[in-house]
Amino acid sequence: MNISPDQTILLDLGVAKINATLVFTWLTIALLAGLARSITRKLSTTGELSPWQNLLEVLVEGVQSQIRNIARQDPGPFLPFVATLFLFVAACNLLAVVPGYEPPTGSLSTTTALALCVFWAVPFYGIRQHGLRRFLHLYLEPTPLMLPLNIIGELARTLALAVRLYGNVMSGGLVVAILLLVAPLVFPALMHALELLTGLIQAYIFAVLATVFIAAATAAQEQTANHSQPRK
């Protein structure tokens, strides 16, 4: 039994092994991009909105509102990154109910890749907003002795992000597989329904944590800047 779609190799090109994770990721990307393209091709700017446009606007507005509430900052710069994380994870988890579909988020490689994206996004937004020097100075706060602990904290945070999402999705799939062996009639369907809820919650948690990390970095930079300005 494969506990990760990484183990399902569909095409072996030596170093590059095209596994089920990549294929289902591409399918998900194509589905999301195609859906977005088809909906946004005919957008209405008047009062009459199509249901799909209304759904997307509610989605974007909701993400903006969440970022604004959590980060207390303008959601504009973070919106594409956070919303894409949420949509991708949610789409992968929701499509898990489709027979034959193996969610890419059940692969530790995928969750690690997403956690690495968050890991790099934090300094990216921090440096873009406040500059490299001030961002690096954050790791020396409150004292240079905390530099090793700050670095370990960054790595642990990334690891926790990756393992949390992977463990939840993978465990959900395993529980359904095990229940199929024990009680194949009713319980797998109930667990699948529960998986839909769990998947959405995991997507929300992953996006919120990414927002918190990025906002913490930018907020810390702002606080450092606020503290350092009177010294000038």
């Binding site: 092994k17 991009a33 946004t40 957008l43 008047t46 974007v60 692969s107 490689s109 890749a113």
Partner: protein, 258 residues
């Protein structure tokens, strides 16, 4: 379980690709559409606020004009009332003045009429009294009364100044007459002749004549002079004084100054 670094790298690339695709096909158009609609709503709100402000301003202007009109009306009303009161006071004053003037005129007219009536009455009473006195004296007059007048005439003659007596004496040389209403007794004639000769220093012999229509008294007549003492001369003097006292208004009557 081991990490497949190729898959990790590929998934990072896939995620970045999805990020780019969604940014191009989802976030940017949706945000643009939302922005346009928001702008339109903001514009509509601004227009609505502008219209509301204009309506508010119009309402305020209307209310201000209404207040101004009310104040103007109050002012006009107060001014009209004041003018009416002033005009009423003027007319009342004029009416009082006219009434006072008319009353004065009426009173003056009444007083003048009363005065005229009183003067007319006085004059009439005087004339009647005079006529009554004349008639009474005429009725009471007789020879004895005339005889008592002889000494009076002689006394008056003595009271004349020398020039007058000389003039009278020269006139008497051409002849003189004594005129009475009743015949004088001889003694009285002698007394009278003696008195005349003494007073005028001439030997005159007067001619005694009697005229019943003559006034009561004695009259000495010469061709050019006349000396008389009669009751009529008293009555004439009384009539003259009565005429003076009952002179009509407008003259220097002392009653005008009451």
């Amino acid at each position: 379980m081991k990490l497949d670094w190729f898959t990790i790298a590929a998934q990072i690339g896939n995620f970045l690709l999805l990020l780019w695709l969604l940014k191009r096909f989802l976030y940017r158009p949706i945000l643009a559409a939302m922005s346009v609609r928001q702008q339109r709503i903001a514009t509509a709100l601004t227009e609505a606020q502008a219209k509301a402000a204009a309506a508010e301003a119009l309402q305020q202007d209307y209310l201000a004009r209404q207040r101004e009109l009310a104040a103007h009306r109050e002012t006009e009303l107060a001014q009209a009332q004041e003018e009416t009161a002033v005009q009423r006071q003027i007319w009342l004053t004029q009416a009082r003045a006219e009434v006072d003037e008319a009353r004065k005129r009426w009173r003056a007219e009444l007083e003048r009429e009363q005065r005229n009536n009183r003067q007319t009455l006085q004059r009439e009473a005087g004339q009647r009294l005079l006529a009554l006195a004349r008639r009474a004296l005429r009725d009471l007059g007789n020879a004895e009364l005339e005889a008592q007048m002889v000494p009076v005439l002689l006394a008056r003659l003595q009271a004349l100044d020398g020039e007058t007596r000389r003039t009278l004496a020269e006139a008497a040389r051409d002849g003189c007459a004594i005129l009475t209403a009743f015949p004088l007794a001889a003694s009285q004639q002698q007394t009278l002749i003696a008195g005349l000769r003494q007073a005028l220093a001439t030997d005159m012999i007067p001619d005694f004549r009697t005229d019943p229509t003559a006034p009561l008294g004695i009259t000495l007549e010469t061709p050019s002079q006349r000396l008389a003492w009669t009751l009529d001369s008293y009555l004439d003097g009384f009539a003259a004084e009565l005429q003076t006292l009952t002179r009509p208004a407008g003259s220097s009557d002392p009653s005008d100054h009451e």
